[in-house]
Structure formats: structure tokens, C-alpha cells
């Protein structure tokens, strides 16, 4: 067994009895089965099609501790995660551990219920059974298994039918300094009721230099006519690893607006799976990553059209400098019976150095009738004629390059609301762009 698995499974035995929900027969079974499946499958390799571009060999040689005993004691300045227009409810986790002192759950608007997973497991655990008693069948789902076996906390968010929660719920996941590298596992569940609306900011950041591994699994259930506005800002530390899986299921007329920004981590993998289950369900997804040095960021986006007149609009931009590697896989499947579907995918990528690499693979499969679909992907360099045009007006080369890169990324942020938040996110992104570049 690999160093990685050995370190985690050893720790599992020690921490088992302390894990919230321990003793619930169905949960114990689910945790055990997932752990066993993980132990026999190990981590996926690049032979697995969906992990073709992301090697976990280095990660598999590293040992991690399974809990950070000092997570509740790290001094964290709230200014680190403050965002404009995010002055509503907030849940903060540091190395996977809930920080009640930094969170704000009092005076929630009516119709919004936010609880830590650990608390729900002490109370109405049964309500989470459909989510937590899952077995992951595919060997490549190692991290979902890992999460199912280990997750001890997370955010459980429920929105009552018809409730309109427009002030965003701010979920903060902080990777922080620890005496050894920590692996933490967080499970989030969102249930947005019929006709309800919810805004969420999922915010990842690093405080202090650390090389922890975060493993976040989230499920978003949007019931009929529900709307979810999700802004994900990933600005983790430059040595961090982050593995995420986000699943969205949309019932009839449900609408998902997802804006995604990936800036940080040394290694990130994010599987985004969107299921359009009800008629006229709609998903609008905009994402951008900006990478440098030896960063490796792999986004796997899939959309399944399974009902009439469903639609998706996917827009992703990537920028890689240094020796960074970006991966974008966008797969749209329009299943038999999903007639009248409308699907769009646009992925453009910019390479800023000869050693950077971006792999883009758009896939469109159609088994239905009267479908409108378009997809396109490009990987290229900055437009020489645009550069010359700017320089001919007096802009120095370095400034011209930055301006063009900013413009390239700006399109991916254009839909973030309100404007104050968009400005802030734009600044985060700009701070990651090369400020001065050699000719």
C-alpha cells in the first residue's frame, strides 16, 4: 500500500471513535465500505482516462496526518477572508475543522438553515442518510471514497421552499500552517427548496505556508424552480493540494449560475458534475484559471441533459505561465429523450511561456432530437497583432501584455454580481497575473 494510503488508513483506526456520527449503524457501514474499497483500489493513475493528465504519483508518496489538533487555535485575521457584499451568514473551517469563533450563524434570514455537518450528525442524522450512505463504484472515485470514509464536518444548508436568500452565504475553507502536513475532508450538502433562491460564495484560501491536502465533496440539490448563484473563489496557498467534487442536480425549471475562479494550489483537481434532470433546467457556468510556476490545475466539467428543453452555457478561460499545466475537460451529453436541448461550450486558453501547457478536451455527445449545440476550444499565445497595435500607441510591451491577459480573463468574470464583488475578484485575479514580463 502506498505511503499516502497507509498514513490515512492508520489514522482512521485511531480517530474512528471520535468521528461525529460514529455508532450510527448505516454510517459506520458506509464509512467502512468506502474505506475498504479505497484500500483495495488505491489512487487513480494516469491510465485512467479521466486522470490522464494528472499524475498523483508524488502525492501517493506523501504521508499526511488526519487531523490538526491545533486547528481551533490558529490565529486568523478575519480580514484574510473578508469579501465585499458578503456580510450575511458565514461558516469558517480551518484545516477542515469548524471555527465557531470566526463563523456567523446567528440571525439567519427566515427560510435559511445552515448547520455544521458535525451538529446534524448528533441530531437528525437520518435526514442525511441518502447523501452519506453512498458507495462509489468506480475505482477512479478514490477521493469520493476517501471523503465518505473520513469526512467529519462540513456545511449542511437547506433553503425552505420559496425563500429568497440573496445575501450570499459565505463558506470559507482555510488551509493553515500545521506541524505536519494535514489531510482534511469536508462534506457539504445544499438543498434548495422549490422556488427558492440561494447565493453562496465558496471561498478557499491559504493562511501561512502549508502543504496540506483538502478533499471537498459537495452536493447541490436544486428543486423545481429553484435558483442557485454560486461563486467559487479558490485562492489556496501555493503549496496546497485540493481535490474537489461538486455535484449539482437540477429539477424542472431550476437554474444554476456558477462563477469559478482558480488561482492557487500546487495541485488541484475539480470534478464538476451537473445533471439537468427536469424540463427547462438551465446551467450557466463561467470559469477561469490563472497558473504559474509548477502549478497543476485540472478541471473536469460534465453536463448531462436528461430532460426536455434543458440548456447549458459553459464558458471557461485558462492562462498558464512558467511551467504550469492546466487541464480542462468539458463533456456535454444530451441523452435520448432530452429533445430541444441547447448546449454551448467555449473554452479558450492562453500560454504565456514555452514551458507552460494546457490540455483542453471538449466532448459533445448527442442522442436526442432538435438539439442546438456548439462547442469550441483553443490553446494559443497572445495575439501578436493586438500586441503591436497597443505598442504602436505607446504602451510598453509588458503593459500591453498584461492588458491583453486581463481582457482575456475579464470575460469569465463579467457575470459576477454585485459589482463590488466582481471588482474584488478581478483584483484577486490581477494580483496573480504577471506584472512585468520580459520581452
Amino acid at each position: 500500500m502506498s505511503v499516502f494510503l497507509q498514513s490515512l488508513l492508520d489514522a482512521f483506526a485511531d480517530g474512528d471513535a471520535l468521528r461525529p456520527g460514529h455508532g450510527l449503524p448505516w454510517l459506520d457501514v458506509a464509512r467502512r465500505e468506502n474505506r475498504q474499497a479505497l484500500a483495495s483500489s488505491g489512487l487513480p493513475t494516469t491510465h485512467d482516462e479521466s486522470w490522464k493528465y494528472t499524475s498523483l504519483r508524488t502525492l501517493d508518496q506523501r504521508a499526511f496526518a488526519s487531523s490538526d489538533a491545533l486547528a481551533t487555535q490558529h490565529t486568523i485575521d478575519p480580514a484574510e477572508f473578508a469579501l465585499p457584499e458578503a456580510d450575511g451568514a458565514r461558516l469558517v473551517f480551518v484545516n477542515g475543522v469548524l471555527r465557531a469563533d470566526l463563523s456567523r450563524l446567528a440571525d439567519l434570514p427566515s427560510g435559511l438553515d445552515v448547520q455544521p455537518l458535525s451538529a446534524v450528525l448528533q441530531g437528525d442524522a437520518e435526514s442525511l442518510r441518502v447523501f452519506l450512505a453512498r458507495n462509489f463504484k468506480h475505482p477512479a472515485e478514490s477521493f469520493a471514497r476517501l471523503n465518505a470514509a473520513f469526512a467529519a464536518d462540513g456545511a449542511i444548508v437547506r433553503v425552505a421552499p420559496g425563500a429568497q436568500i440573496t445575501t450570499p452565504l459565505h463558506l470559507v475553507f482555510i488551509g493553515g500552517i500545521a506541524s505536519t502536513d494535514i489531510a482534511w475532508h469536508t462534506r457539504n450538502i445544499f438543498d434548495v427548496g422549490e422556488g427558492a433562491q440561494l447565493s453562496v460564495i465558496e471561498h478557499h484560501l491559504g493562511v501561512g505556508t502549508h502543504a496540506n491536502l483538502g478533499n471537498v465533496f459537495a452536493e447541490y440539490r436544486l428543486r423545481e424552480n429553484a435558483a442557485l448563484n454560486l461563486l467559487r473563489i479558490q485562492n489556496e496557498g501555493e503549496r496546497a493540494s485540493l481535490i474537489q467534487r461538486s455535484e449539482f442536480s437540477l429539477a424542472k425549471h431550476a437554474r444554476l449560475h456558477l462563477n469559478n475562479l482558480d488561482l492557487g494550489t500546487a495541485l488541484m483537481r475539480h470534478d464538476l458534475r451537473i445533471e439537468l434532470l427536469g424540463d427547462r433546467a438551465h446551467a450557466a457556468v463561467r470559469g477561469v484559471f490563472v497558473l504559474d510556476q509548477r502549478q497543476h490545475v485540472d478541471n473536469q466539467l460534465s453536463v448531462e441533459h436528461r430532460a426536455l428543453n434543458t440548456s447549458c452555457d459553459l464558458f471557461w478561460r485558462g492562462v498558464a505561465d512558467g511551467r504550469a499545466r492546466g487541464v480542462f475537460n468539458g463533456a456535454i451529453t444530451i441523452h435520448a429523450g432530452a429533445d430541444g436541448a441547447d448546449a454551448r461550450l467555449s473554452n479558450k486558453n492562453l500560454l504565456l511561456s514555452a514551458q507552460a501547457e494546457i490540455d483542453s478536451k471538449p466532448v459533445l455527445e448527442i442522442y436526442a432530437d432538435e438539439v442546438q449545440a456548439s462547442h469550441g476550444a483553443t490553446v494559443g499565445q497572445l495575439d501578436e497583432s493586438a500586441l503591436f497595435y497597443l505598442r504602436s500607441r505607446g504602451l510598453p510591451l509588458a503593459q500591453a501584455r498584461v492588458l491583453l491577459i486581463q481582457a482575456f480573463c475579464a470575460q469569465a468574470l463579467a457575470h459576477i454580481e454585485p459589482a463590488g464583488l466582481r471588482e474584488h475578484v478581478t483584483q484577486l485575479l490581477q494580483a496573480r497575473l504577471p506584472q512585468e514580463m520580459p520581452a
Binding site: 497583432s385 497595435y389 497597443l390 505598442r391 504602436s392 500607441r393 505607446g394 504602451l395 503593459q399 481582457a407
Partner: protein, 256 residues
Amino acid sequence: MLKIENLHVRVAGKEILKGLSLSVNAGEVHAIMGPNGAGKSTLGNILAGREGYEVTQGSVEYFGKDLLDLEPEDRAAAGVFLAFQYPVEIPGVNNTYFLRAAFNAQRKKRGEEELDSMQFLKRVREKLKVLHLKDELLHRAVNEGFSGGEKKRNEIFQMAVLEPKLAVLDETDSGLDIDALKMVADGVNQLRSPERAFIVITHYQRLLDYIVPDFVHVLADGKIVQSGDKTLALKLEEQGYAWLQQRKLADSAVAP
């Protein structure tokens, strides 16, 4: 101001300019006419500093210095401006933001004080007014989705704001209706002064009804083959470039 001597330029291995000479003094307007493919845009690009052109012989002096030695942005700061034959669309970059950044970058390089956004906006609005352009131009992305005519107007607007010393207009009149043509001419005439010079590349004599040139040159096959005053443009208009062809034949008959 500008002295081009015996300039030979290769593009993609092919010789395009074959010994071009041209002198331009401050205060002058030079029109350059010539058939398609003669090398007119090549000349404009060489002056502005576009990459991909190989100068194999000759020199270009600008205010006594070697222009070819300078980066494009340094040429701009020194007062060189090219109105592109095909202005580039730059999605996501706001026209005003871009122009102010360029304007201030030039001033900084010249050791002049930069303008803040209020001061700059004031200047820009004055120029818009003089050129009868709509405010809307300020809010759009650089040339994005502009019609051919709008792009050309935007070039003239940029020229008006940047106030270059040497402006090269590369077929800025092509494809314009008469109103737009007058606007282009206005832009040039407003800036005409004893300190400035213009090189106006055009296919058509009609622009020269509005921008009256001091000199007209015919550029054919990589060289200036004929120079004269504004009446040369009229002659070209009447006789077309056919007589150039004959000239060329005559030349080659003479050549060994």
C-alpha cells in the same frame, strides 16, 4: 524630420521595398499612391516598428536618429503614429482606458506629467466634439464589433488625442462614405501645423480634395517611381496606373 534612404525590406523571404527614398520635413503633407501590393503598408509598418520585416539595406532617420533601432512604443513616444489599414479588434479592453494608458505611457517616457482620468476625459471630450464623434466610442472595447468606417474614425480619434509629430495614415479613406471621409480630413487638417508632418497613403484622389498634399508620390514595385505636386494625383486619377506599367516596361527594356 524623416529621411528614408535606399530602403530595402524583405518580408517572408521576398523583397518588397526595393530602394525606397523619401524625405519629409515638418509641416509637410505627403501623399503616397500606388497599386495594390506595391508596398505601401509595408512602408507604414516599417515606420511603426512591426515585427517580421527585414531591412536588408538603407536607413530611416527620424529627427536625426535611427528610427529602426527603436521599439514600437518608443517610436510612439517620439511622436510616430500609424493609422492602421486594418485596425485590430481587442475585446475586453475599453477604448478610453487603453487610450489613457497609452497617452500616459508616452508622456512618462518623455518625462512629462501624466494626466489623471478627469483631465484626460476633458481632453478626450474636446476631441470628440471637434471630430463630431459620439460619446459612445469611449465606452466600447477597442474596435470590437466596429464597422469598417467606425474603425477608421477611431484611428483618427486616437491620432487626435495622441497628437503625434509624424502621422502615417494607411488607406484610412478606403471604404468610407463622403461624410466619414470629411471627418478623416478634418482630423488631419486640425492637427496640421508647422511642427507636424503627415504621410497619407491612399488609393483615391478624392481624399486629396480635402487634405491638400504638398507632395504626391507614386509607389510602385517597392520604389517611389514618380514624385510631384498635387496635380500628379489628378493625372493618376485620369490615366490610372496603366502608364506606370508602360514606364516599368520601358525601364526593364533599358535595364541590361
